[in-house]
């Protein structure tokens, strides 16, 4: 037995050694897949290390308490009011796009902080340290250019906006961590006075400044001296926090610097607690929440649980992705083993004549597959480490933190085991066929013999393969029944795909006209003859390019949609939001005076409540009746169910009516910057409608479900309680749906601006301005003197979302690219095998006078066609999915990035050609006589 296995191993090693290129590309197929597994798992571990390591530093303390800006729960209303009465909380004035309908927001004032400190001192004396940042601008203010959100170099005037201000006590901030400048000086040493400022690398690069520069912060009445520059990731403690700071930059000031911002007092939305005894975290946390029920807390334990769960999910996802790459690479193994067996049928027959049984022959080749698996896996591990460095950089941009590189044992072990197992499993069927070679072949060595395992053996082998792969999958997925279903499903899907692709290749090879070009004719014939292997190779290529195109095309489509919706097509590049109608004259005056303003349009939105409707036939429906009608007609519940939500949780009527109750008041005397869509039914506004109670809707599902038609009279109620007013508006027209629902184009429901009494206040007031980009800072400065106005550049919004999109799509794109690389390796392997099998044919072509370049050209043509087919299918499927999604949402197809699609197709063809060239170059250069002698 030992001697037999010794023979198997020696024989296999020797065979692999003497077969040079063929062995190399087969190993590369395995290596590419294992490299994907190893690199992705290693990066996942590195992310996990970052997420779960030093959680106290991540949490900035043992307990982090916060009072989130934004929408508070109505049930907490009484508690919040009580806290305000006690001085713990302060009410914030509504900001941004709030207005009459905005919810009240709260913050912890200086007095509140003092009360909390007093409670801590009395309840846990000398056991807890407390620190907190002062807040001078919230997210909305950063977005809209509020106080402290832009920093300017006093000398050059260069400025950075959407910057996050961080006012802290540098002596203790942050707990359990130390922030240092890029040259290693701690923050506590950098900020010594309230006029010292420390900025991050991103902001420093934007401003082009060095330590010692004088900087101006918007809203502050003093200049600050730059004392240090810190890494941008200093304020990014997790993938979900500090994103703004990471994208646009931030600065540190001492808390006392708040005195320089007029009208601002110390207030915070975050508290950090450091415990002398961290084991008391749970107890302190409970007590804290009992004392301050309107606060939310994150402890190290909850952070650990959340981050471990996240790390596990990331690990699972990347492992699955890596496995898919490995499975694609195993297509190369199947092809290689088939060729190995086919080329050695005479050898197998000889072995059988001297006494080897079928099972022993199968074992011989299985050992060869196993050795290839081991060698390929080892090569894959080395490649994986190299790939990790590339992926690491992309992953760091995803988590916005540095990832410490480490060589972990688990990915290595996984890589070797899974790589070897998969190779051996997929090599099983061809080796089974080897065992069935008839010994009589030895007497007719010139006959072309294609070894076959037979139907029952093949079925049996497939069952074994599926069982083995299910076992491997179960380890990853943690559930055997699911793993079996997934494996069987994948096999069936792959089988169907291969059959379809084989049929497609047959169609093209058989019927595509060669146009009289002999090279094309030969290439098509060869493609037709090798369509079995061609189909499996194509599968690997299609999967790789499809996953890449899906991510890339989706990201570009979102970018295009944003740009179109918010860009110049909307009629403006700046939105000026006002909180008070009284600001309108000042804003319009400023717009009239500011240089570079091409056009602007002021719109006011009114939030009413539809209480009843008189239909054109005179039927009167109250609100309940309208909602019943909506409930009957609307398919909103189906849509929510289709997206996985619970349709019973929603009140369809309320949602639809809310959508029909936001009325956009337009000035009929002003030409709109964006032309409205055409009237479908009824009529458009005329000058005579100014001040009249008429209304025009835009066609929508909401409108249809409420059965609102031209001629109906709608009674809206504005305001609340005693001041509520009811206004009847007659529907005079219904417009066509717009191509893109732009947030800058206002509500789809329009009324003349003066249709409502002046006592009814608008919920939002905004001016959409078309202004030259270089004049925007001037406009911002001018409008900063008008109280309650906020300026938002739509380009900033687009840039922010584009940056976020790029950040989040970079890692998946990189992963998909790995899949495409594997597809390329499989092609290279396939070409290596094909040229090996066609050595004689190539030699004959050269013997009759074809030059090497022409022979190479034919091979490249054949593989270029395969690349084109792969690209058309892979990219085409991606585009098709986009078309379906966009059509379903009623969006224009013009946002589909066809340019990107063409680039991806070119990439696919390029990969196929490069892969083919690397292997066919050598084969095309062999001397014909050498080949004909040996073949």
């Amino acid at each position: 037995m030992i001697e037999k296995f010794s023979f198997y191993f020696r024989h296999s090693f020797n065979d692999l050694r003497v077969n040079g290129q063929r062995t190399f590309f087969a190993l590369l197929c395995i290596a590419a897949g294992v490299a994907a597994v190893v690199s992705l798992q290693t990066v996942a571990l590195m992310i996990g290390d970052t997420l779960t390591g030093n959680l106290q530093a991540t949490n900035r303390g043992d307990i982090q308490a916060s009072l989130e800006f934004g929408f508070n729960d109505d049930e907490q209303g009484a508690i919040l009011e009580q806290a305000v009465a006690e001085g713990l909380l302060e009410e914030l004035p509504s900001s941004g796009f709030g207005g009459a309908g905005a919810q009240t927001q709260y913050i912890i004032g200086a007095e509140g902080v003092a009360q909390i400190q007093a409670w801590i001192d009395s309840t846990y004396p000398d056991q807890i340290e407390l620190t907190y940042p002062w807040v001078i601008s919230d997210i909305a203010a950063i977005f809209t250019g509020g106080i402290g959100t832009s920093v300017t170099d006093s000398t050059t005037g260069d400025s950075g906006s959407q910057v996050t201000p961080v006012l802290i006590d540098p002596a203790v901030y942050p707990f359990y961590d130390e922030i240092e400048s890029v040259d290693g000086t701690p923050l506590s040493e950098l900020i010594q006075s309230p006029t010292d400022i420390v900025i991050d690398e991103k902001l420093a690069e934007t401003l082009g400044v060095e330590v010692g520069a004088t900087l101006r912060v918007s809203g502050a009445d003093v200049d600050f001296t730059l004392r240090g520059i810190v890494p941008t990731e200093a304020e990014v403690t997790s993938p979900t926090t500090g994103i703004f700071a990471a994208l646009f930059g931030f600065y540190y000031l001492e808390r006392d610097a708040i005195q320089y911002f007029e009208g601002l007092t110390g207030r915070t939305d975050k508290l950090y607690l450091k415990l002398a005894d961290p084991t008391m975290t749970a107890e302190v946390n409970r007590a804290f929440l009992t004392q301050y029920p309107y606060l939310e807390t994150d402890t190290v334990d909850t952070l650990r649980q959340d981050n471990e769960a996240l790390a596990n999910q990331i690990n699972q996802v990347v492992t699955v992705v890596g496995l898919v790459s490995l499975l694609l690479g195993s297509i190369g193994i199947i092809n290689t083993m088939q060729v190995i067996v086919r080329r050695r049928t005479v050898e197998v027959a000889v072995l059988k004549t001297i006494g080897l049984e079928a099972g022993e022959v199968t074992m011989l080749f299985l050992v060869e597959a196993f050795i290839m698996g081991v060698l390929g896996s080892i090569l894959g591990i080395l490649l994986g480490w190299a790939t990790t460095f590339v992926i690491k950089g992309v992953a760091e941009s995803l988590v916005a933190q540095a990832l410490p590189f480490r060589i972990a044992l688990a990915p290595i072990v996984n890589g070797i085991i899974v790589g070897t197992l998969v190779t051996t499993i997929f090599g099983f069927l061809p080796t089974l066929a080897a065992g069935q070679v008839r010994p009589g072949v030895v007497l007719r060595p010139s006959d072309t013999i294609i070894p076959r395992a037979g139907l029952w053996r093949t079925l049996g082998a497939l069952i074994i393969i599926i069982a083995a792969l299910s076992g491997v999958s179960a380890i990853i997925l943690g559930n055997l029944p699911t793993a079996i279903l997934v494996t069987i499903g994948a096999f069936i899907a792959s089988g169907i795909l291969v059959l379809l692709l084989s049929f497609l290749i047959w169609i093209i090879g058989r019927f595509f006209p060669s146009l009289g070009i002999v090279d094309l004719k030969i290439s098509l014939r060869q493609m037709l003859a090798g369509r079995g292997r061609g189909a499996t190779t194509l599968l690997a290529l299609v999967v790789g390019v499809f996953s890449l195109s899906l991510i890339t095309l989706f990201a570009d489509t979102i970018n295009n949609t944003l740009s179109t919706a918010l860009g110049s097509a909307s009629g403006g590049n700046v939105i000026v939001a006002m909180t008070n109608r009284n600001s309108i004259p000042q804003v319009t005056a400023a717009l009239d005076e500011t240089e570079g303003v091409v056009a602007y349009q002021v719109s006011q939105s009114f939030g009413g409540t539809l209480v009843s409707m008189e239909k054109p036939d005179g039927a009167l429906l109250d609100r309940d009746a309208i909602m019943a009608t909506i409930e009957e007609n609307s398919n909103l519940r189906d849509t929510i169910a289709a997206f996985g939500g619970d349709p019973d949780e929603i009140d369809v009527g309320e949602i639809v009516l809310a959508g029909l109750s936001n009325l956009s008041g337009i000035d009929l005397g002003v030409t709109p910057s964006t032309a409205p869509t055409a009237i479908l039914r009824g009529r458009d506004f005329t000058d005579a409608d100014a001040g009249q109670p008429v209304i025009i809707f835009t066609e929508s599902d909401n409108l249809t479900s409420a059965e609102i038609e031209v001629g109906a009279k709608l009674i809206y109620e504005f305001g609340e309680d005693a001041s509520a007013q009811q206004i009847t508006l007659e529907v005079i027209g219904i417009r066509q749906r717009p191509v893109i629902n732009s947030p800058t184009s206002g509500s789809g429901t329009q009324i003349p601006l003066d249709a409502l009494p002046s006592v009814i206040a608008p919920s939002t007031i905004q001016a959409l301005v078309n202004i030259a980009d270089e004049n925007i800072p001037e406009l911002r400065r001018t409008l900063s003197t008008v109280p309650g106005t906020f300026v938002l550049e739509t380009a900033v919004f687009v840039q922010l979302l584009s940056s976020l999109l790029a950040t989040f799509s970079a890692f998946p794109t990189m992963v998909a690219l790995l899949g495409l690389v594997v597809g390329g390796v499989v092609i290279a392997n396939s070409v290596a095998l094909t040229t090996l099998e066609r050595r004689r044919e190539i030699a004959v072509m050269k013997a009759v006078g074809l030059q090497r370049e022409r022979v190479l050209g034919m091979i490249l043509l054949e593989n270029g066609i395969m690349g084109l087919i792969g690209g058309l299918i892979g990219v085409g499927l991606g585009v098709l999915m986009l078309v379906i999604l966009l059509s379903a949402s009623g969006s224009s197809l013009s946002v589909i990035p066809f340019g990107t699609a063409l680039l991806l197709m070119g990439l696919c063809i390029g990969v196929a050609l490069i892969a083919a060239t690397t292997t066919a170059w050598g084969a095309s250069g062999e001397k014909p006589l050498n080949v004909l002698r040996s073949e």
Binding site: D15, G355, E357
Partner: protein, 259 residues
């Protein structure tokens, strides 16, 4: 089991081959008895069924009808497993193109059948060395096939065929790929094997030169066994043998110059 006098017996052996849609009657009822220790040949024109007959008597293929008995064992209806065992223990094969395993040395090639025998009769390495010495290539034990001449490779193949001491040695055009000198060496080696080990040697050939050196010759034509003669009794083969003798002594060359 007592040795039977006939090491090979075929009875009305027939074999039909399907070539596309055409059925070719490769053998049309061949009855043949071969004694132990014979040195015989099977000749015939191309397509006469020589290789088919060799494949059937070697257990590489199964007949359409008829029987094949090797050393008292009817192998006609044996399954593949049993046939493999018979091939390993009772039959040795020598092929035209040697068919050595290129990645193994000469000794390793020869010891292969012994390593895969169900019941090992010899020490593989020792037996291999002995056989290679018997065939005059003991100095090539550690050489791979690519490092051996054609004649040497064929002798390694003969040694491999003899590894388990088979009763029957089947040779399919053993000198077909060799030059005359190597052919002579191989034929001498086969004759030595037959004489020294009493192994029955059957050679399929279309070479008159080879045929003239055999003790018994059966001729196949179109799947029929048409003659079974002692080559020495054949005038044609006698003439071939004479020519060969005169060529070796240089008489032919001298006669040509004289003319």
């Amino acid at each position: 089991m007592a040795e039977t006098p006939h090491v090979l017996q075929t009875q009305d052996l027939k074999k039909d081959l399907q070539v596309g849609e055409v059925t070719v009657h490769a053998l049309r009822g061949v009855t043949l008895n071969v004694q132990r220790g014979e040195f015989m040949g099977i000749i015939g024109p191309s397509g006469s069924g020589k290789s088919t007959l060799l494949g059937l008597i070697g257990g590489l293929d199964s007949p359409t009808s008829g029987t094949v008995t090797i050393d008292g064992i009817d192998i006609t209806n044996l399954n593949e497993r049993a046939l493999t065992r018979v091939r390993n223990e009772k039959i040795g094969f020598v092929f035209q193109f040697f068919n050595l395993i290129p990645t193994l040395t000469a000794q390793e090639n020869v010891s292969l059948p012994i390593q895969f025998a169900k019941k090992r009769k010899f020490n593989p390495d020792k037996r291999a060395a002995e056989l290679l010495e018997l065939l005059g290539i003991a100095d090539r034990l550690d050489h791979r096939p690519t490092q051996l001449s054609g004649g040497q490779q064929q002798r390694v193949a003969i040694a491999r065929a003899l590894a388990n001491g088979p009763a029957l040695l089947l040779c399919d055009e053993p000198t077909g790929s060799l030059d005359s000198e190597s052919s002579a060496t191989v034929m001498k080696a086969l004759r030595d094997v037959q004489r020294n080990t009493n192994t029955t040697v059957i050679i399929v050939t279309h070479s008159m030169d080879v045929a003239s050196q055999l003790d018994r010759l059966v001729t196949l034509v179109d799947g029929h066994l048409v003659s079974d003669v002692d080559p020495q009794s054949s005038a044609q083969l006698a003439a071939v043998a004479l020519l060969k003798e005169k060529r070796a002594t240089g008489e032919l060359a001298a006669a040509a110059v004289q003319r």
